[in-house]
């Protein structure tokens, strides 16, 4: 009866590590970051995680109470939207080859 079963895609795309596409790596400077999460909001992958407040040292005590953004380099393609949208310009785009040196 079922010679032609409906093809159902079941494998999550997370197996595809798109971080390998990256030319420039966004690096968050946590001492400047105000944890507004605007980078997280605009990442098209999404490759920015929300991590617990204590994980990074913050600019001041009030900011230190907020959960922080953390870039997942397994998936970040390096588009640079996060760096462009950051209101305090605390994300630097670093050439990957420089980091390898």
């Amino acid at each position: 009866m079922n010679d032609f079963p409906t093809p159902i895609a079941t494998v999550p795309s997370t197996g595809n590590k798109t971080g390998g596409w990256r030319t420039f790596r966004p690096v968050i400077l946590y001492d400047k970051c105000i944890r507004c999460m605007i980078c997280w909001k605009f990442c098209p992958e999404p490759a920015i995680k929300i991590v617990s407040a204590e994980k990074y040292t913050a600019k001041n005590a009030a900011i230190g109470k907020l959960d922080a953004p953390e870039i997942d380099y397994d998936y970040c393609k390096g588009c640079g939207i996060c760096a462009n949208e950051c209101p305090v310009k605390c994300i630097e785009m670093v050439f990957e080859e420089k980091l390898e040196e």
């Binding site: 999550p12 595809n16 992958e45 640079g80 462009n84």
Partner: protein
Amino acid sequence: MKNLTIPEEEYMLPGHTACLGCGATLAMRYALKALGKNTIITIPACCWAVIPGVYPSRALEVPLLYTAFEVTGAAVSGIREALSAKGIEDVNVVGFAGDGGTADIGIQSLSGAVERGEDIFYIMYDNEAYMNTGIQRSSSTPKGAWTTTTQVGKIRDWKKEKKKNMVEIMAAHGIPYTATASIAFPEDFIKKLEKGKKIKGPKFYQVFSTCPTGWLVSPNKSVEVARLAVESKIFPLYEVENGVYNITYMPKKEVKVKDYFALQGRFRHLTEDEIREIQNDVDEAWRILVEKEKWSKSLMKVQ
């Protein structure tokens, strides 16, 4: 403590294959944040048909049914009817298609679905050309743009026709709810979808979605370009609810069309005079929109 202005839940997975900075993926990410788990999406041929990856890869946490290029409107109608036949009413049935699949080839089935009053969402992610097949012009490509079928060169054959107004076409159907939205204004888009969830009948959204690849825009400027489209009034944010127009974002700054064009290679060839002509078109369209808002509100006696 979290400092978020949009829902935290994600229903779109990373590892997808969209280009760097693709606006269409942001449109999907935000749409699913608003619509949630109880959603079935159907997608015709378009970039989003390849973004989830090669079979058996999936990038969404909700069911997705692929359909043919011209039938998104029929597909959502069928899914809706099938669910209703099973007694299932609490599912958002969503058609998610590009501008080519919506304003050109899919317009007949969309018109049919809307006319029949199907209880569905239709989201047109507007990247202003047929991107998946290599940047061919659509009726939603704006006047002045270069595409591979409106080439510039010596004959300066860039697109001379105006962008088709899909919201007006939908409003003319007497649709209960239709709106524009932008990837640069996710809170506004999500609010409009939340509103749509409370409305029975067809809901249509036209979401401005930057395509860095097709617009010759640097990927990091993807959201900025979309913001400038709204600020320059070339793509205003508004909704039409049962015939009543409502502008949902009043541009704050004096941004000119020229400033919006400046970040994009697809408008690079335009002369000062040509840009001025487009600016005049935009000013006129905005003036009419503001009048329509006033007029429709007074006509329908809305405060």
